[in-house]
């Protein structure tokens, strides 16, 4: 005979203001099997929990129903309380009468009626609950960081510092990411390379860190604590272990007309190249799209000059498989191409550049050696117009609906640097709003306006048109003086929106993590779990989760590392016992469940069965790997014969709930 206890929580006035909790407790006390039904002001408080614990002990309860908030909130609290007095924690059921009842209804009578029905459903279910025991699964003490920008580097360094092995997978030939392309950083104006490159070297030299550059993740299997990841090491046609990075091949390569990605295509590189002087690993890579040897089989100059014998034209993609306990995603961002914004003439006027292009134009290692010159005629620009929010805060499908967050600050930085270095250059900034929250950020922007006399104009640029004399006509509105302006400019700089890297979406599919409509990874909770994904064991670092500047990125990178370390420190993790299992006598081996399983937890086996006529037969039946199953329940719905069932949410338990509600 079942002995069930019901405990109805007031949650202060959260529930009690809309639901007559005493009436709920009274109504549920008459349900079959219920031996005690009580209400209390705060059931989750220590005294509330004691009330539950004492009731379990005194009444020898076999099941507990808590009518309170969402199970996401306190299911664990009450399961622990039950376990502490010897009741199997999976014999506790929560009836959510807050989020799904009191918060969304106004009428007390109907809300009370609904709360009673929800309580009855939980009582009906708990009748069929069985004790479950959670298994344990070991944790592989190694982490994977996907992306080798400042976010990935910081995460890897922090994990390595804690003594765990960590691999960085970077798709480009070098780590460093976007920060390596940036000249100065706001709000301190210190040199980006000076603070980034030591970290890159530190990562390369750390005994716990392995860098897979020019590599991509192609497959992810497994689950928290025990992922199996396949990494493709793309053929770079250079033996990494032999190349010394002397750079002789890049000097001698005859194919010199390859657009240089690192300088945003503003100058050229050779077909065999090292992206930049401080690249890590400092190893050459051959670009097969341009290499004459790989394309036509004629040349071989790099191979002849390489004294280390590192050039290998026959190299192919290699796949390596490795097990990891935790995965950190740090795939970063890219600025959008403003080619949908032809009103700014970007696609046909070389003197209209994006902000990242301007970074390279002003960088000492850039195409002009740090002297700011117009790309078209290499003359010094005397008037420069900055256009903010290009593609950000857009209400049409051309751009992004969100604020890209970093543009206001880097534009102020650009404007200030130009005014500092070239006082004869007039700088205009057109903005919708100037958004500079952050430590020392607004002070920085005000310095641009007050000390450096940058002309900030609230208003939008409507049209940028190159003129016959090489100047650029910038037509804009000044919203504060309600005037139409024409500025005779030499250069226009577009502060383009930033978007997640293109590799993020296929990666999210592999990792079964969630993304928002803009392809940013979704955190498990926007306030309380900002660096974890909703998938256990997958953590988020940097701009892949949303637009971020460098300080915020580094902070999140370290936070993600801390979470990963917390996982790697454990020898084993408790598994969720609410997993699927198959009734082999009912299973007909149709494969429906295998097709819908998102985790690859279902396999098939041939098993011998004794038939009613005492003969034996071999049948193909499904079996679930409980360590891989996440308990989503898709298979139980797909199974045509009803052989699949989910522990804790069995078909009969769900039906009992439905019956109780419909009665």
């Amino acid at each position: 005979m079942q002995r069930i206890g019901v405990f109805v929580c007031h949650c202060g006035t959260n529930i009690a203001a809309t639901v007559d909790v005493k009436a709920v407790a009274e109504a549920l006390s008459h349900e079959p099997g219920v031996v005690i039904s009580q209400d209390y002001q705060y059931m989750c408080s220590e005294s509330g929990q004691d009330l539950v614990k004492n009731a379990i002990k005194e009444n020898n309860l076999t099941g507990v129903v808590i009518c309170s908030c969402s199970p996401r909130m306190h299911e664990n609290t009450f399961r622990k309380a039950a376990a502490s007095v010897g009741l199997n924690p999976y014999l506790v059921e929560i009836a959510n009468i807050r989020e799904q009842c009191s918060w969304i209804h106004k009428d007390i009578a109907s809300a009370t009626e609904k709360a009673i029905i929800l309580g009855k459903a939980a009582v009906a279910k708990v009748h069929l609950n069985t004790p479950l025991t959670a298994g344990e699964s070991p944790v592989v003490k190694r982490a994977l960081v996907i992306g080798g920008g400042i976010a990935g580097i910081q995460t890897a360094l922090d994990i390595a510092e804690a003594g765990f092995d960590v691999d960085i997978v970077e798709k480009e030939p070098t780590i460093g990411g976007k920060m390596a392309q940036i000249d100065k950083t706001f709000p301190t104006l210190d040199c980006a390379a000076c603070i980034l490159t030591p970290k890159m070297v530190e990562a390369a030299q750390n005994e716990h860190i392995t860098i897979h550059s020019f590599s991509e993740v192609t497959d992810v299997k497994g689950f928290v604590g025990n992922f199996t990841v396949t990494v493709k090491k793309k053929a770079r046609f250079v033996d990494e272990t032999k190349c010394t990075g002397c750079g002789l091949c890049t000097e001698k390569c005859p194919m010199k007309k390859v657009p240089n990605e690192f300088n945003m295509g503003l100058d050229n590189r050779t077909a065999v190249y090292i992206p930049f002087a401080q690249a890590v690993p400092k190893v050459a890579t051959i670009d097969p799209n341009y290499c004459l040897m790989l394309k036509n089989g004629k040349c071989g100059v790099c191979s002849k000059v390489c004294s280390a014998g590192a050039i290998d034209y026959k190299q192919t993609d290699k796949f390596i498989e490795q097990k990891y306990g935790a995965i950190v995603v740090a795939t970063g961002f890219n600025p959008i191409k403003p080619d949908k914004y032809d009103e700014f003439a970007y696609s046909y006027c070389p003197d209209v550049v994006t902000s990242l292009e301007l970074e390279r134009l002003m960088n000492a290692a850039g195409p002009n050696g740090g002297t700011l010159l117009r790309p078209s005629d290499k003359t010094h620009p005397h008037t420069i117009v900055f256009v903010q929010c290009v593609g950000s805060r857009c209400d049409d499908e051309k751009g992004k609906p969100y604020c890209s967050k970093i543009c206001c600050m880097y534009t102020a930085k650009h404007a200030m640097l130009i005014r500092e270095k070239y006082p004869d250059t007039e700088v205009y900034v057109f903005y919708i709003d100037v958004r500079t929250p952050g430590k020392n950020f607004d002070e920085f922007y005000r310095r641009a306006v007050e000390q450096y006399n940058v002309h900030y104009i609230k208003g939008m640029v409507g049209k940028v048109s190159p003129k016959a004399d090489g100047k650029i006509d910038v037509q804009a509105s000044d919203l504060l003086s309600n005037e139409q302006l024409h500025i005779n400019a030499d250069m226009v700089v577009l502060a383009t929106a930033i978007e997640p890297d293109k590799t993020a979406r296929p990666l999210a599919t592999m990792l079964t993590t969630q993304m928002d409509t803009n392809d940013f990874f979704t955190e498990a909770h926007p306030k309380l779990r900002p660096v974890e994904s909703a998938t256990a064991g997958i953590f988020l670092s940097g701009a892949c989760q949303g637009p971020k500047d460098i300080p915020e990125t580094v902070a999140q990178a370290s936070a993600a590392a801390a979470k990963a370390i917390g996982l790697l420190c454990k020898n084993s993790i408790t598994c969720n016992p609410c997993v699927a299992h198959s009734d082999e006598l009912m299973c007909n081996g149709c494969s429906s469940c295998e097709k819908v399983c998102p985790y690859g937890a279902i396999t098939y086996q041939d098993k011998e069965f004794r038939m009613p006529d005492r003969t034996t037969a071999i049948r193909r039946v499904a079996s679930v790997n409980p360590a891989v199953c996440q308990g989503c329940g898709a298979c139980t719905v797909a199974c045509p014969s009803g052989a699949m069932d989910l522990n804790g949410f069995s078909n009969s338990q769900i039906m009992a709930e439905v019956d109780a509600i419909c009665k």
């Binding site: 914004y341 032809d342 009103e343 696609s347 046909y348 049209k463 048109s465 003129k467 016959a468």
Partner: protein
């Protein structure tokens, strides 16, 4: 031979006869049959400001229905094209409007947007092909620097008209290349000519038209072409420039050897 329904519109019968005549003769020379529907009426341009939304659609839908059984409906005037193509786009996406229009016009079946609407330039690009056109040119505009003037109506709203990139169009420039001329790219080519504002604020219209003409002249244009009767009027009457303004069909006919050479 492909047959298209040809909708001239009111202005082409009066002020803009050149736009119409040379469109017809050139199409014939290019092997395209243009059939003018009987009893056609206003494109709907006169009703765009009507307060009843159904009223803004009726006229254009009548024209669209006339094009249903041919290879498409061809328009030349920018304004007609704008109104008819937008109506076609809107009505295809609005079932309740389809039913309302059906009832007003007492149609047997609702019009659901099945007619394809072509601007004459699209006909040249997508049906004839600029390559074919180039091969049929007998009197190319060699060495002529020609500025294409799009105005505001021809390309916008770009989603509904789906003709070309409204900020950096190429269709008229490609046309100019096909007839042997050199296109001139200038800033004001897709800006407003002043339009109807000439009726109430002559000075403003003058400012706009002058800006267009000056911008084209500064980039070295010898002449300017347009598809819009109102643009042609403004550029001719409301600007101080002496630069000649033509309909694109005039140049087309001339290049095909269908017109006396009076453009020199």
């Amino acid at each position: 031979m492909q047959t298209f329904t040809y909708y001239p519109g009111c202005t082409l019968r009066t002020k803009a006869k050149d736009l119409d005549t040379y469109a017809r003769s050139s199409a014939e020379a290019l092997g395209i049959a243009l059939v003018e529907p009987e009893n056609w009426q206003c494109c709907g341009g006169a009703y765009t400001t009507a307060t009843n939304e159904v009223a803004t659609k009726l006229s254009a839908v009548r024209t669209l229905i006339a094009g249903k059984d041919t290879d498409g409906l061809v328009t030349v005037c920018s304004a007609c094209h704008n109104v008819i193509k937008q109506t076609n786009y809107d009505i295809a996406r609005n079932e309740s409007m389809q039913n309302k229009v059906k009832q007003y016009l007492e149609l047997d079946e609702a019009y659901t947007g099945e007619t394809t609407v072509y601007h004459y330039l699209e006909l040249l690009r997508d049906v004839v092909g600029f390559d074919t056109l180039e091969s049929k040119v007998v009197k190319p505009f060699k060495g002529k620097k020609i500025a294409a003037y799009y105005g505001c109506l021809l390309l916008r709203p770009s989603k509904a008209l789906a003709m070309d990139n409204p900020e950096n169009p190429t269709i008229m420039e490609d046309f100019i290349k096909a007839i042997g001329g050199t296109p001139v790219i200038y800033a004001q080519r897709n800006e407003c000519c002043g339009g109807y504002i000439t009726m109430e604020d002559k000075a403003q219209a003058l400012k706009r038209s002058n800006a267009v003409m000056e911008s084209a002249e500064n980039m070295g244009a010898d002449m300017i072409i347009t598809a819009c009767p109102l643009c042609l009027y403004n550029l001719k009457k409301n600007s101080c420039s002496e630069m000649p303004v033509y309909y694109f069909t005039e140049l087309l006919a001339e290049a095909l050897g269908l017109k006396e050479n009076d453009n020199e």
